[in-house]
């Protein structure tokens, strides 16, 4: 086996040094009745070539987004990631390093986490950010529990513009934790009256912008109403690229921000691994879950970085920790940081503007098709259209013609009664040919 260095002679010599006659003696604590004598009923080991062939065959049975006109979004976006990002994250010292608990020999990881935290705080317009969460949905669920700890209340109000997967993730964790998370009906027109739901028992209001239908939401009045009732505003996003162009949640009164960072630095990967972003106010930081990196000095007075405020975390606080979370999304956060460092504010704004321009152009083209109606007043790079018939059927039909036309809202929430809503995402990777292919395919499918 190519990954195991010992020869059988070496194994024998080691057993002799240990003073046992056989390897089995080392496993003597396993009860005899439960000890496996033969091999597991699984294939034997395979050469690198053989594994590559088998997995290559599986990969070939999928349609890669980059190979077709592609318009899927709804929480995962296909952006261009510079080649240098993937090269750098594969450096041994990043890829094969552990959590930086020994800061003297992990300053590389710690410094990029400090840069990451600074970038996330700046993008979201918040004072502090943590070193990342698993993904946007779990970050949102953790944000709700964090709000409960801060307000000492147990009731969350969830906007109907929230991505249904995010809403479900929040509701599962809240239910299990014995807290209340009421969800408003799906709100494609962004005209829900969420402020009427906020009362003196409300811990937090959770609002997504751009919402799952692509609408941009002005949260200022909601924040003011929440704060007047002693509640917090949690702002959620699934498309971090939008923050290059739109007012950040921190400037609209958000107390906690939780979102998905995949768009910067990270590919689609069929849903994971992604990188959850979480940011908040400085005075809330002790109730924040997840790792935090902070600046300090070493014994020679040189600047250095360490994981800090660890007493919030499970390995010290155990059953009184702010969360059970242990892992962050280290390497994905690194990819985010490198890509963001390459972009800078200038590049981010340019890419975001291009996303928006292409989306606006496609939306205009689509409204010219009979049977397609744009429902958004505002959007960034994703919008919702109402189509004739069931959008799920339409999307499958178009997939057969080689166009991945978007995500039917009913795939996310079949019970919502919005079977005719199709979510269409456009990024800088979408070409004019792609857009024309979608227009032609939709026109063709809806006319027959």
């Amino acid at each position: 086996m190519r990954y195991l260095p010992h020869t059988s002679d070496e194994r024998d010599a080691m057993l002799a040094r240990i003073g046992v006659a056989s390897l089995d003696e080392l496993f003597a604590d396993i009860p005899a009745a439960q000890r496996l004598e033969g091999l597991l009923d699984l294939p034997h080991g395979a050469s690198e070539m053989a594994v590559e062939r088998q997995l290559g065959n599986l990969a070939a049975r999928n349609i890669a987004a980059g190979s077709v006109p592609f318009f899927c979004g709804a929480g995962a976006y296909r952006h261009h990631v510079p080649a240098s990002v993937d090269h750098l994250i594969q450096r041994s010292e990043f890829l094969t390093s552990y959590t930086p608990y020994q800061p003297e020999i992990t300053q590389g990881t710690l410094q990029y986490l400090f840069e990451f935290q600074t970038q996330v705080a700046a993008l979201t317009g918040m004072e502090v950010a943590n070193a990342s969460m698993y993904d946007g949905s779990t970050a949102a669920a953790e944000a709700v529990l964090m709000a409960h700890r801060l307000t000492k209340r147990r009731k969350a109000v969830l906007s109907g513009g929230l991505h249904p997967h995010y809403a479900e993730t929040i509701r599962t964790l809240s239910f299990m934790a014995g807290a209340d998370a009421g969800l408003l009906p799906a709100d494609p027109l962004a005209d829900e009256d969420i402020m009427a739901q906020i009362d003196a028992e409300t811990s937090c209001v959770v609002v997504q912008s751009p919402d799952v239908f692509g609408n941009l939401r002005d949260m200022r009045a909601i924040a003011a109403r929440a704060h007047a009732q002693g509640a917090l505003l949690i702002a959620v996003f699934t498309e971090v690229m939008a923050l290059g162009l739109i007012e950040p949640p921190g400037a609209m009164g958000a107390d906690i921000v939780a979102g998905e960072g995949q768009s910067i630095g990270n590919g689609l990967n069929f849903g994971g691994p992604y990188v959850g972003l979480m940011a908040t106010r400085q005075n809330f930081v002790r109730q924040m879950p997840g790792r935090l990196c902070g600046e300090t000095l070493d014994a020679e007075g040189r600047r250095g970085f360490v994981l800090t405020l660890s007493t919030r975390e499970q390995h010290i606080r155990r059953d009184k920790a702010t969360s059970n979370i242990c892992t962050n999304s280290g390497l994905c956060a690194l990819a985010f940081t490198i890509h963001m460092s390459l972009l800078g504010a200038k590049g981010l704004r340019q890419v975001a503007l291009l996303n928006h321009a292409k989306a606006v152009a496609l939306a205009q083209k689509l409204t010219g098709i009979a049977g397609v109606e744009l429902i958004n007043q505002s959007f960034f790079n994703e919008f919702a259209v109402r189509v004739q018939g069931d959008a799920r059927v339409l999307v499958e039909k178009l997939a057969k013609t080689g166009v991945l036309a978007g995500v039917p809202y009913a795939r996310l929430a079949p019970q919502a009664g919005l079977d005719d809503i199709l979510l269409i995402a456009v990024t800088e990777t979408t070409t004019d040919d792609d857009a024309n292919a979608l227009v032609a395919a939709l026109a063709g499918a809806l006319s027959c």
Binding site: R286, T308, S310, T311, I316, R317, K320
Partner: protein, 125 residues
Amino acid sequence: MSTVYFTKDHEYISVDGDIGTIGITDHAQQALGDVVFVELPKAGATLARGKEAAVVESVKAASDVYAAASGEVVAVNTALEGAPGMINEDAQGRGWFFKVKLADKAELANLMDAAAYEAFLKTLD
């Protein structure tokens, strides 16, 4: 003249009339190491003996501080919030946590005096 009593959780209460000043002992601050954060009760809060009243944290540990006696919190050492190192420097002096108006002085009979606490510490080694 105040009398000082101790708990097995390494809190002290220094009693002067019906006011008790509560903090952690010098032994506790040494065991904890550099204190980096304290969370103190609010003035006016009513504490029950043995219940969690405050939190004290070092870099690697967090400990609850329990109320050594029942009563209403009448003063809080807010200076600790900006300078938690005072607890390491002078745990049983400037490093006090909060003062309570004792609800029941009879509770003090359950606590150790200085000599008993010294003896108790010896049993821990």
